[in-house]
């Protein structure tokens, strides 16, 4: 591996570290207050949610509109571990218990991802969307009925362990993992299924396996995001993860540009921060927010980023094979208009 490629592969981590240092410095000199930090944490969690949804909707071409359901399973899974099972853990064990909780939350969500992945084999488009919508609502309804974990009133007193550092760490890991997955030869199968499922079948791609895999991975990541979220706010209730929440992630995804990780980052960041910036408009805030969305979708129907990818969020063939494959001839890349 050449030095240039090593730099390229750790580039995203570097950016996050620099960003983290800048933000904490600004915080310590009181330029940023706790409110800004919280908005940034929510933006980061939303990026994690949106990019995982992107794997299913944007890259594999399925249509999930109940993504908040997975988030709530992760939030509850993690919170049960940290604030019930290991409630009286010694102070030194807080972080391991927190990490275990996040992992368990992800696994619970992944298990349900597997269940919801199965109908995706039979159903397409709108029909699959309805099933995933119903799934999100079923999860919410069931959580409301579960008295030991708070029922409709929700869970309180969840330790507020998630800070910007943890969230940035997981954001970095998730983006790195998704990039390596999607732009690998393995991941190209997801894109092939989105582009043309019949051709993918005819090429010997096990479409069943890939579709379920995309749901399971996306659900795990969404569960992780749910766990992070629960430990930011310290309080969760089933209604925090309603269809409205799912639709937020869909909006971030499509406004940013589906089928592009850069799009998820841009969409989730801008649209999390925008309503906060518009707060001075008070009641008009959501109207203006909605108008901005409509304008974006009219003028950039492919999303703000529109299928493009920042260089360090895309792996090229050269990175994978070290440039051993035939290179483009001089006539290559000619555009047909």
């Amino acid at each position: 591996m050449s030095g240039k490629r090593i730099i390229k592969s750790i580039y995203p981590a570097l950016i996050l570290v620099v960003l983290y240092v800048v933000i904490t410095t600004l915080r310590s000199v009181k330029v940023l207050n706790g409110y800004y930090i919280q908005v940034l944490m929510f933006a980061s969690i939303n990026i994690i949610m949106t990019s995982s949804l992107n794997l299913v909707n944007g890259f594999t071409g399925q249509f999930c509109i109940g993504h908040a359901g997975f988030m709530s399973l992760g939030a509850y899974g993690a919170s049960v571990i940290t604030s019930m099972v290991f409630k009286n853990a010694p102070a030194g064990a807080t972080i391991p218990v927190y990490l275990l909780g996040l992992f368990i939350g992800g696994c619970v969500a992944a298990f349900f991802g597997l269940l919801i992945g199965i109908p995706s084999l039979k159903l397409k488009g709108d029909y699959l969307a309805i099933v995933t919508l119903a799934f999100g609502e079923i999860v919410r309804a069931l959580l409301r009925l579960m008295k030991p974990i708070g029922g409709a009133r929700g869970m309180i007193g969840i330790p507020m362990i998630s800070n910007l550092g943890w969230i940035f760490l997981f954001l970095g890991i998730v983006l790195y993992a998704l990039r390596n997955l999607i732009y690998s030869p393995f991941g190209r199968a997801f894109i092939a299924i989105r582009d043309n499922e019949i051709a993918a079948d005819a090429m010997g791609i096990n479409t069943t396996f890939y579709k379920i895999t995309s749901f399971v991975i996306a659900a795990f990541i969404a569960g992780l995001a749910g766990g992070l979220y629960a430990h930011v706010v310290g309080f969760i209730q089933p209604d925090s993860f309603s269809f409205t929440k799912s639709s937020d992630f869909l909006v971030y995804l499509y406004a940013g540009g589906s089928g592009s990780l850069t799009g998820s980052i841009v969409g989730a960041t801008l649209l999390t921060i925008l309503p906060e910036i518009l707060r001075f408009l008070s009641e008009w805030r959501l109207v203006i927010y909605a108008i901005i969305l409509v304008v974006v979708m009219i003028y950039r129907s492919e999303g703000l980023v529109g299928g493009k990818e920042l260089p360090f969020l895309r792996i090229t063939r050269k990175d994978l094979y070290g440039g051993t494959l035939p290179q483009a001839s001089s006539a290559g890349g000619k555009e047909e208009t």
């Binding site: 043309n196 051709a199 063939r317 001839s329 290559g332 555009e335």
Partner: protein, 236 residues
């Protein structure tokens, strides 16, 4: 023994019987054509062989393996490459990436690279456009890509569904010339075509399919001379 042997195949879509007891075979090294008008069941037969549709009854044997219960991706593994109707390429992947998808069951990188060289040699136009997104190719180029991609699977039997559809005559000639070349290198080909004249000129043997049943079969040259075939399919 035949490479591909289809016996008494029945396929239906709900109440509609698309294929009603079709039997035929493809021997090693042959080009076999299935001709017939729209809705005769030609595509359905190919799709069933590929595992994209389920057979209601009957058997499909390939290289001594029964295919009717196998999943599509395993059938590709068994050695059948399918160029589906309407050039189903992956529009947002590049030409090279599309070809790589064809080789996704192969592990030998050197073999993949040499297969790709071979495809570029057969279709120099694809080489010129290797980094372009496949969706930006012209119709003829997309057909070439679908063809090349199927060659990357390294199947012993290549099934082609309407390769001439919607293409300019000069491109059609080019595609059929390559079919002949590939066949000469030892690949068996099962071809379905509405353009019966072209199909019969390329194939060694042919079957005529009418509303889900085979009504005539024989050496392609005989069918080409047959009065009934002439009247029904050749417009003579």
């Amino acid at each position: 023994m035949a490479l591909l042997e289809v016996r008494d195949l029945h396929v239906s879509y709900g109440a509609i019987q698309a294929v009603q007891g079709v039997s035929f075979e493809v021997n090693e090294g042959e080009v076999v054509a299935l001709i017939g008008s729209n809705g005769a069941g030609k595509s359905t037969i190919l799709r069933t062989i590929s595992g994209l549709e389920k057979a209601k009854s009957g058997s499909i044997r390939f290289n001594d393996q029964e295919l009717t219960k196998m999943k599509a991706h395993n059938i590709v593994k068994a050695g059948i490459a399918h160029v589906p109707e309407g050039r189903r390429i992956f529009p947002r992947l590049t030409v090279t990436e599309n070809l790589h998808m064809g080789a996704n069951l192969q592990t030998d990188k050197a073999k993949i690279a040499s297969d790709m060289e071979r495809v570029f040699e057969l279709f120099p136009r694809l080489k010129e456009r290797e980094k372009q997104q496949a969706g930006t190719l012209s119709g003829g180029e997309q057909q070439m890509l679908a063809f090349g991609r199927a060659l990357m699977t390294d199947g012993k039997l290549l099934m082609m569904d309407e390769p001439s559809m919607g293409l300019a005559p000069i491109i059609v000639d080019e595609i059929f010339e390559i079919i002949n070349r590939i066949n000469a290198e030892g690949r068996s080909i099962l071809l379905i075509e509405q353009n019966a004249f072209l199909a019969l000129k390329t194939a060694k043997r042919a079957y005529v399919l009418e509303t889900g049943k085979i009504t005539m079969s024989g050496p392609a040259s005989d069918l080409l001379a047959d009065e009934r075939v002439k009247a029904a399919y050749l417009g003579a």
